[in-house]
Amino acid sequence: MKRRTVLAVVALGFASSLTAPAARAGALKIRAPAPDFTLPAASDGKAVALKDLLAKSKAVTVVFVATKCPVSNAYNTRMEALGKEYAAKGIPLVGINSNKTEPAAEVREHAEKHGLTFPVLKDDGNRIADAYGATHTPEVFVLDPKGNLLYHGRIDENQDDPQGVKSPDLRNALDAVLAGKPVPVAETKAFGCSIKRV
């Protein structure tokens, strides 16, 4: 139905007014290879390379995060817990901050204040957010050891209440990866803060 609507609009000559959201164009497809990256950790400036993480892991969880976004902050404790739990099982979690409004020093202070022990990398110029088509915080990409995308979307559906979560989508994806099974729901959406791009 919607497809027909769009086609009808194009036929009427309004095509130029129908601007697809920027995120759609660049968003990675499930099973597609994700771009490699090497970014400095906000904590000490040391370079962290995705390919090094992939080489020694069963999968890698990449989460685009923010310091000021209340939605991202609502997940700090959950990200830390998931990071610790699954790193022990071979799936480390790495955060990327691509917001131009949040410099490395702020990212470092934020991680210290909230007890985030997983590395948070600083993506100056939002190049990696662009390469991944990431638009939100928090927004998750789970990659297999070859760097192919296994899961993309939210952590879960309930930002308000960690105890009330009914759809732990990231956890479900990671458990499936560990069990050698296909990810049950490979793509999800959630309300989130836009990444503040350059």
């Binding site: 769009v6 995120a23 959630a190 803060c193």
Partner: protein, 151 residues
């Protein structure tokens, strides 16, 4: 006699995914409808609100209706109301009510990724004619509405 100020903001109303089309869009049939999705926690959403208010002033309410849809948590309805009242935002505001945000996002627009601010423009027949992702200006809001009004 002193002129009355802008009308006080109407109470925020809840809208479920399955009600969006009928209550937010179709109820304004015959007019171009601009729907702005926002949240009190979203800085660019709050920042673009004055531009939306200014843009709307250029059009007759007979031709154009503006509706807001807050994606705030239902625990934050009072904050939504406070923002609208203190900013004297003269638009009807709905608040998304869905235990799973994805159901709401997909009911609104399957190609929307859920990032706010996000604005949709529907023509007089209720057909979606423009998607404005990210923060807008008075001009970009106005241009989208003018295109939707064009015969």
């Amino acid at each position: 006699m002193a002129l009355a100020g802008p009308a006080a903001s109407e109470p925020v109303k809840l809208v479920k995914p399955e009600q969006y089309r009928a209550r937010v869009v179709a109820a304004k049939k015959g007019r171009v409808v601009l729907v702005n999705f926002w949240a009190t926690w979203c800085d660019p959403c709050r920042e673009e609100m004055p531009a939306l208010v200014s843009a709307a002033k250029a059009f007759s309410s007979k031709d154009v209706a503006v509706a807001l849809v807050s994606t705030d948590s239902l625990k934050k309805t009072a904050d939504v109301q406070r923002f609208l009242s203190s900013g004297r935002i003269p638009f009807v505001c709905w608040q998304a009510k869905s235990p799973d945000p994805q159901r709401f996002i997909d009911a609104v627009d399957k190609s929307w990724n859920g990032a706010v601010p996000y604005t949709l423009v529907y023509d007089r027949k209720g057909e979606l004619v423009a998607r404005l992702a990210g923060p807008q200006t008075e001009k970009s809001f106005g241009d989208a509405v003018r295109k939707a009004l064009a015969p």
